[in-house]
């Protein structure tokens, strides 16, 4: 039923349409046996990869930010990395550090949103954060405070929390002073304190027995938890650079979705995101975050997707600790940006969005006009794994009434924090039982 298209056209992906908005699940059951489970995403296509053609090489950070209002910094950072790669430029360490600091803000904001407003109500039995707040007001307030501090960090460096204006190819338009950043440190100390409480809180949720057997893939770079750079490694021995990604991953269009499905060639499904980062980089976590994880009872062998909520909380704590360290060591760059002169060529870049690895590729002509663009977001990579997990989940719970089956399936999907989880009641379940 999946359509495997041949030739280079398979590689052309609309990164945007498939990751947000609404989806549906279709389940086919024949004589009590699950025949097919399809997660359908019907977010209308927005065609970013098409209209990027003909644009200037300086424009993707602003344009691709608009793919996602929840993780615009991830799009800006992957775009900059790919375009600078095409132009043969490496930004100086102080600019790289400032980018990482900005990205920490997005991790804090995005994870705090998911943990508190989207995911926690599932574990505590509420429809959403609003009715949950009637009985858990303090926890929701704590989550909102944490989210606010993440947004403040993005605003401090990026100008605004959604679609920051200060990011450009080569660096920034204006870099903050040491003094400005130092003044923010107490806010991050407060956030770290809150994050420690959040780890303890979510570790106490009830988790169903559930284990995934996917290949986990995440960036890895010596001496740091992966955010802005690294090679893509996996739990089954994958180890590639950004320019090798295309040779290892194939994307297929399936009839039931505007999102494309990504597979590793000759290996199959794989999973990116917090669980994968955590499994592959546990040793690189800030000691404070590592200790909190250990105390919460999770380690690099964790494979229960329901516990991803704990991993996200641990990553919030890591991002706070890392941001504090980056501020401590911050040196104002000589110039806010280095010059990036255009040249003909192809560039690849990837970074770790809160939801997992996000890959960009641009082909430029000698004047810097974009000839071709390709973007592979985390949700496109995870969708086959999510479907696989859903299939087994439905198999084990085939006797549940439809409404209960739908509710629990939603929770399974939300474990992966796909961009479609913005819509918490996205699952329009149709069960075809014969």
């Amino acid at each position: 039923m999946t359509h495997r298209a041949s030739g280079s056209r398979t590689l052309k992906v609309d990164a945007l349409a498939r990751v947000e908005g609404e989806g549906a699940m279709h389940v086919e059951i024949r004589d009590g046996v699950v025949h097919d489970v399809r997660l359908r995403i019907y977010e209308p296509p927005r065609f970013f990869e098409a209209f990027l053609r003909g644009r200037a090489y300086t424009e993707p950070p602003d344009i691709t930010a608009r793919i996602c209002g929840i993780c615009p910094v991830a799009y800006q950072m992957s775009a900059c990395a790919a375009i600078e790669d095409a132009c043969g430029v490496e930004v100086p360490a102080p600019i790289a550090a400032l980018r990482r600091l900005l990205y920490c803000g997005e991790w804090i904001e995005s994870h705090a949103l998911h943990v508190h407003l989207l995911h926690a109500p599932d574990f505590l039995g509420y429809e959403g954060a609003i009715d949950m707040a009637e009985h858990h007001r303090a926890e929701i307030k704590r989550g909102l405070e944490l989210k606010k501090i993440g947004n403040e960090l993005i605003e401090l460096i990026g100008g605004r929390a959604i679609h920051p204006v200060n990011v450009r190819v080569g660096g920034f338009y204006r870099t903050p002073t040491r003094r400005e950043l130092r003044a923010f440190a107490p806010r991050l100390e407060r956030a770290a304190e809150l994050a420690r409480e959040v780890v303890r809180w979510v570790a106490g949720f009830g988790f169903p027995e559930h284990e995934g057997d996917w290949e986990l893939a995440a960036l890895r770079h010596p001496g740091e938890y992966p955010i802005t750079r690294g090679r893509l490694v996996s739990t089954r021995g994958l180890d590639i650079a950004a320019h090798e990604f295309e040779a290892h991953v194939v994307e297929e269009q399936v009839p039931h979705s505007t999102a494309l499905h990504a597979h590793l060639l000759e290996r199959g499904e794989y999973l990116v995101g917090p669980l994968a980062r955590f499994a592959l980089n546990f040793d690189a976590l800030d000691p404070v975050a590592r200790d909190a994880a250990t105390e919460a009872g999770i380690g690099p062998g964790e494979r229960n997707p329901f516990r991803s909520v704990v991993v996200r909380a641990v990553e919030i704590l890591h991002a706070c600790a890392e941001a504090l360290r980056l501020i401590e060591r911050y040196e104002e760059p000589d110039r806010p940006a280095v010059e990036v002169a255009p040249r003909a060529g192809v560039g690849h870049g990837w970074t770790e969005a809160p939801r997992g690895m996000l890959w960009h590729r641009y082909e430029l002509d000698e004047r810097g006009t974009i000839l071709d663009a390709r973007i592979v977001p985390p949700t496109a990579q995870n969708q086959p794994s999510i479907e696989h997990d859903l299939f087994h989940f439905v198999e084990r719970n085939v006797d549940l009434p439809d409404e209960e089956l739908a509710r629990r399936a939603e929770v399974v999907i939300r474990n992966y924090d796909p961009c479609i989880s913005c819509a918490t009641h996205f699952l329009d379940l149709t069960v075809d039982r014969r």
Binding site: H3, A5, K12, D14, L16, E20, G21, E22, E43, P44, P45, R46, F47, F48, E49, A50, F51, R53, A56, E59, D62, R66, I67, C68, G69, I70, P72, L113, L117, E127, G128, A129, I130, D131, A133, I140, K141, L144, K147, K148, N151, G159, R160, I162, H163, V165, R168, Y173, R174, E252, Q253, P255, T258, L260, P336, E410, C422, A423, T424, H425
Partner: protein, 263 residues
């Protein structure tokens, strides 16, 4: 609620968009719980799976219309809403996805999808007001949090929102910024762009890129002449006008004129 008064109902709807404008509501961290106390959040899928049947006192609509199904859906949203406010550049101008309006959507489909026939899409991305009457349009890509609170507050209290339609230049002056165009020759859309961001880009030493769309009485042609004298060419001018508000009347008319003008 202990009082007998019914709380007004609020619904938030999404069409083609990035979710950023409805996220702005969740980004009102200090006010969110107070809002949830003051109104009944009757439909807001980004925040809750619980839904209440319409009609709704106030509907906030994010996103543009890009599919036949959405062109139908917006009509039922309108019918179920006493007041309907569109939020953000997608809903008020068609958004970045309206770049298809200047191109061949069949070609776009071929670039992105191996099997375009599986995809149902319209050849244009259009603002909500092109389909149904709209009570107020709040601009921005993304919208400003303070302005969103003002609009929600105004509508729930039956008064007109205090949102000024002058240009970013006014905000820049109020902020005491040095003009980036005059001082550094930086191409800036501030003189023709709707206020609301607080002159963010010039404050970060870059030119305004027009994410709030055209201001009232915007004159893009006059600005183009000025920027051209300072070294911006027509290709760049067209690109500047064709971003998140490309299909807004004043921006569209000028970019189309420039594209057709002999070089």
């Amino acid at each position: 609620m202990s009082t007998a008064t019914r709380r007004p109902t609020l619904a938030v709807w999404k069409f083609a968009s990035c979710d950023g404008c409805q996220l702005t509501l969740l980004d009102c961290e200090d006010e969110l719980l107070a809002i949830a106390d003051a109104v009944e959040v009757a439909y807001f899928l980004e925040a809750t799976r619980a839904t209440v049947e319409g009609p709704y006192d106030l509907s906030l609509v994010e996103g543009s219309v890009t599919t036949p199904a959405d062109a139908e859906r917006i009509r039922s949203v309108r019918a179920a809403s006493r007041r309907l406010v569109t939020i953000g550049a997608c809903a008020t101008a068609g958004g970045i996805q309206a770049l298809r309006n200047f191109a061949d959507v069949e070609e776009y489909l071929g670039i992105v999808y191996a099997t375009p026939s599986y995809i149902e899409t319209l050849s244009t991305s259009t603002p909500i007001a092109a389909h149904v009457p709209v009570d107020f349009e709040l601009r921005g890509c993304p919208i400003d949090r303070g302005q969103l609170l003002e609009v929600v507050n105004a509508f729930l209290n039956g008064r007109a929102p205090e949102i000024r339609a002058h240009s970013v230049c006014v905000e820049c002056k109020a902020r005491g910024n040095v003009c980036v165009t005059v001082a550094h020759g930086t191409a800036c859309l501030g003189p023709i762009t709707h206020a609301g961001c607080g002159a963010l880009c010039p404050s970060y030493h870059r030119g305004c890129y027009g994410c709030f769309g055209p201001s009232e009485s915007a004159d893009p042609r006059a600005l183009g002449d000025e920027l051209r004298r300072r070294g911006t060419d027509d290709v760049d001018l067209v690109r500047m006008l064709r971003t998140f508000n490309a299909a807004a009347d004043a921006f569209r008319a000028e970019s189309t004129r420039l594209e057709r003008a002999p070089r």
